[in-house]
């Protein structure tokens, strides 16, 4: 199949998956709002949890794949890995924005503050900065080989930064006793809430797959146009 024809196939396939995923997302909305018990202590705002956490997981998945494919690209020099990494990064930003908007909207009624430097929120913020840096660098480089190589280096280094951010926040919190904050996602989650969370997570992953596929098709079409398609 020629590059242009493959690109169209990816876009078509990706669009189909995305449509199904968006419909499923609507279903998740109904499930979370209509068929999942209300948390008496936290009220309706607790239901933001069913969107925020899957979005965060998807963003983490997206970024891990950016890092992984970046490393593989540096090793194997296969342009497909670079295209996939770039696609995953852009889709990851979308989920990152969801995560960073729903996070504070959830935190305010539950914890009384728009932001807190706890491990989860801090990490999500850093993931976002890493994604944005990766995409900004790509946008600023016009030579395809340079763009692929440089962003791959950033991708790998970024992935390795994540455990250090985690460690820093952990050290900070263990050495600085903070006032005990009630974590909304209580360790023992009632089965119906867990069910809704997992279904939502699955739908978000499906949405990630659909969007990345479309984005990959777009990247393929753009590479084709640049005339820089490398054989695998």
């Amino acid at each position: 199949m020629s590059g242009a024809a493959s690109a169209r196939a990816f876009v078509r396939g990706g669009t189909a998956i995305t449509l199904v995923a968006l419909l499923a997302l609507a279903g998740v909305y109904v499930l979370a709002l209509g068929f999942t018990p209300l948390e008496a202590r936290q009220g309706l705002a607790q239901k933001i949890f069913y969107l925020h956490v899957p979005a965060a997981w998807s963003a983490l998945l997206a970024y891990s794949l950016v890092g992984l494919c970046s490393g593989l690209y540096l090793w194997l020099n296969d342009r497909r890995l670079d295209r996939f990494a770039a696609s995953s990064a852009e889709v990851g930003v979308a989920f990152g924005v969801v995560m960073l908007t729903t996070g504070p909207i959830w935190a305010k009624p539950i914890w009384g503050t728009w932001w807190t430097w706890d491990a989860r929120l801090t990490l999500t913020l850093f993931l976002f900065f890493l994604f944005v840096g990766y995409l900004a660098l790509r946008a600023a480089l016009h030579d395809p080989s340079e763009r692929a190589r440089f962003s791959a280096v950033v991708g790998v280094l970024g992935l390795l930064l994540v455990p250090f951010i985690h460690l820093s926040v952990y050290l900070f919190r263990t050495l600085h006793p903070q006032p005990v904050v009630l974590k909304p996602s209580a360790p023992s989650l009632p089965p119906e809430m867990l069910r809704t969370l997992l279904i939502s997570a699955l739908v978000f992953v499906m949405l990630y797959v659909g969007l990345v596929t479309i984005r990959y098709g777009l990247a393929l079409a753009e590479d084709e146009r640049e005339g820089s398609l490398d054989a695998a």
């Binding site: 242009a4 690109a7 169209r8 876009v11 990706g14 669009t15 995305t18 968006l22 997302l25 909305y29 709002l33 209300l38 948390e39 008496a40 202590r41 936290q42 009220g43 309706l44 705002a45 239901k47 933001i48 969107l51 925020h52 979005a55 889709v91 979308a94 924005v97 969801v98 908007t101 729903t102 909207i105 959830w106 305010k108 009624p109 949405l207 659909g210 969007l211 479309i214 984005r215 098709g217 777009l218 079409a221 753009e222 146009r225 640049e226």
Partner: protein, 44 residues
């Protein structure tokens, strides 16, 4: 008596839908434009 914070929930659910549907739509349009049949010109 659960706290009255439904407004936050609505805001979050609406914002999420807007971001995801908006991004999907924008992405689809960009992809369609790039893969139009017979389109081999370098994009402007």
């Amino acid at each position: 008596m659960p706290p009255d914070n439904g407004g936050y929930m609505v805001a979050a659910y609406v914002v999420t839908a807007l971001i995801l549907v908006g991004y999907a739509l924008g992405l689809w349009r960009r992809a369609r434009k790039a893969t139009r049949e017979g389109s081999t010109r370098v994009s402007p």
